[in-house]
Symmetry: C2
Subunit: 111 residues, 2 copies
């Protein structure tokens, strides 16, 4: 199951780190506690709509951008969730690849 708070949290963290800013700087600008912001970024706490807006404001990142990036990530995760057989399929080769024998083909050979 896709957990939205984890996707949004990692998106917030990615943007903060991309700006080279610390948890302390952004939490102070957003007027939330450092511990709260850290928990939100790690997907351990649901951010209320008001605090999410405040964090977006502190990052100077529009909420719509965070949401559309999250939507793209969630879409990828949903595709993985619905196609487990493809995700977990591995091609199995013998350890000694040279030992594979192929049938010989001769030009003009009849089947």
């Amino acid at each position: 199951m896709v957990v939205l708070r984890e996707v949004i949290g990692s998106e917030l963290r990615r943007r903060r780190q991309h700006q080279g800013r610390t948890l302390r700087e952004v939490s102070s600008a957003a007027r939330v506690s450092l511990g709260y912001l850290s928990e939100v970024e790690r997907g351990q706490k649901e951010a209320s709509s008001e605090l999410l807006s405040a964090i977006c404001g502190a990052l100077d990142a529009p909420l719509s951008g965070i949401l559309s990036d999250a939507a793209r990530k969630v879409a990828v995760m949903e595709r993985k969730d619905t196609m487990p057989q493809l995700v977990h399929t591995r091609m199995v080769l013998p350890k000694d690849v040279d030992s594979i024998s192929y049938p010989r083909l001769r030009s003009g050979a009849r089947s």
Copy 2:
């Protein structure tokens, strides 16, 4: 300020009504209380990530679709928030529109 829970709530309600389903049907399918779903739809309660997933499942609507629709709505609201002077500007015309006079233009007239 854009309140995300209101945008997501109205998106959930729009989809439920589009499917012609009642609060009772969807809350039962999602295994949440009717009152809780009603509050989430009206933007009065934050849905936890787990319950949002359950509601999306009950609506057979991928979370990614809800998020990208929400992102579009939020983008429109953000543009309104940052351009209040354009949103509230009205063109004022005199009541008797026929009384407006225009300068006459003659072909070949010099400026």
